[in-house]
Amino acid sequence: MNFNITDIPLNSYLALSAILFSIGVIGVLTRRNAIVVFMCIELMLNSVNLTLVAFSAFHGNITGQILVFFVMAVAAAEAAVGLAIIIALFRNKMTMNIDEINIMKW
């Protein structure tokens, strides 16, 4: 059977990426470990990448794919900075549980 990727309708890609995005959001809202929360955010970004690629194929221009490369680069930079921040915090507080990071409030 000859399977062509464009046979799958656009809406399926969009639905999949919306589901992935929602999973990411729910993860951010519920998980307690800072690194897991951060990975959920990465999941959100990557689901957007999927949307972009799908739209790019749909419209037949490559703007979306260019943006995807930028997003990946930015996500990498964010990962580097984010992990550094988490390590700095861990050195001072010996915890990764974001519920315990609440000195400043009100």
């Binding site: 809202l29 609440n102 000195i103």
Partner: protein, 649 residues
Amino acid sequence: MHEYISYIVLLPFIGFLINGIFGKKFSEKFSGIIGSSAVGITFAIAVMIFFEMLKLPVEERSHIVTIFSWIAAGSLSINAAYQVDQLSILMTLIVTGVGFLIHVYSIGYMHGDKGFWRFFAYLNLFIFMMLNLVLADNFLLMFLGWEGVGLCSYLLIGFWHDKKFDTGGYKTGEATTSDAAKKAFVVNRIGDFGFLIAMFLIFNLFGTLAFEDVFSRASAIIPIGDTTMFWITLLLFLGATGKSAQIPLFVWLPDAMAGPTPVSALIHAATMVTAGVYMVARCSVLYALAPASMEIVAIVGIATAFFAATMGLVQNDIKKILAYSTISQLGYMFLGLGVGAFAAGIFHVMTHAFFKALLFLGAGAVIHAMHDEQDIQKMGGLKSKMPATYKTFFIAALAIAGIPPLSGFFSKDEILWKAFSDGSVVYFIIGWITAGLTAFYMFRLVSLTFEGKERWSHDKHPHEAPKVMTVPLIILAVLSVVGGFVGIPHALGGGNAIEQWLEPIFKRANLHLATGHHSGLTTEYLLMILSVFVGVAGIYFARKLYLQNPELVERLTTSFRNIHKLLWNKYFVDEIYDATVVTPIVKGSDKLLWKGFDVGIIDGIVNGSAKLTAWISSWMRKIQFGAVQNYAMVFVLGIIIILGILILK
């Protein structure tokens, strides 16, 4: 000559800069001379402009002097420009003339104070701001001055920042002058809120903020009784009630007496508090188009006049009595404006500036002599110790009591007469009773302070004030006597010069006002005799009670103790504001949250709303849990709401 108006405004500012920047190094004398001469020269120029104007034919007297193009942003274009006309030059003369005398007086009064130069810098800044207020040719510049005088008033009330002061039963012992300053500032902001909104509405309606354009357009296109105009004028009047201490925003003025006495004389009696009157008079056209607002102005005015006078009956603090008297007299002015007698209102501004400044300066001399004692129950018999102060004070008291031919008689009588002929009999009757009360409390004050037995301990040695203080008193006394002659009504064979002088300003407003039925001369004479009678009666009873029958006062106080208590506590206004707004909310709340939070700063309605806001605030801040995920949760909720609005339309 009128183009020199920019110097008038600039000179006090230069005085402020000189004293403000270098003042610390100056001797007292030099600071005082700089400060006073800045205002003195200004006054001299104003007088020259005035005489120049007198020579011109009536239609050429009004000029607009543009200094520079201030703001130009799209449809919004405003010049920094001064309007020199009959009304503004009159106000300028009052502000600089009385201001100059008070500056001179302050050289003596503030002698030895470590903030001497600072005091003169602030006073000069005040004059600068006040001149911007009265000379502005548009609402925005007027608002700038309006805010500026508020700022100076705030700085000057709190001048002796750590001094305790007596609020008159409410939270005694806790308050300091800085609390009084803050109260004044915040109450005034409520009024400014009205002013600002009114200004926005005016801009929206007319597309400009320049007085001339707004008034001519309003006069041409707005029908009488227009709803928008009603709201604009009402909001402007809200601003006026703040600045001019009328019901419901009068609560700050008695506390403002915590400032140095020359400040009370200049800002809280002669000039700044009359800014509201000036503003309403300046906008007379707008008010003429909103009869309902005029009615409200008149009612608020007469009510304030009456209630403030009754509160003044039982006070014992010499400055507090004068403060309530000021509120009451301002009420008269608003009554005049409310019944369409704009010229009469401004006339009373002028005479009131003379005699009230004189009363305050006299009170200052007394307080000085008595080593900061302000309770008149602990005075008495000062007549022989300080004759000049006594005589001038007596003249001022006669003037405010409305005894002819002193200035107060003519201006007050003009207002009462207009209230009768163009307003209603009720206005007249209440105003008439208030006149009697005024005479009574003023002579209660005179009797208890200067006459009768000496009730002070004899380690005090009261003495007459130095020349630099008494000379201004004498000049003001002369003005209090003759100041009314510019407004002798036709009924008494005078020309009512001041009304004629101001006629071109109020011409447009008068066109829209239904001209009242004119009662005959006989009625006018009759009313005049009635008001003289009630003034004399008030004086007579006050002297009789307080000089000859002091024990009768005691008896009266006990038999009418409920009324006395009511008056003594100023109708419990502060407490009512507190109880209705604050207590129901505070009761359920966590007391701990109040700790470390200075809620006791502002009482009255301000305290009410401040406490309410503070309580809401301390409750609202708890949403900020500190945990990231709660923040993210709020974030997501916000997204759902916003996308909901966008998609569901």
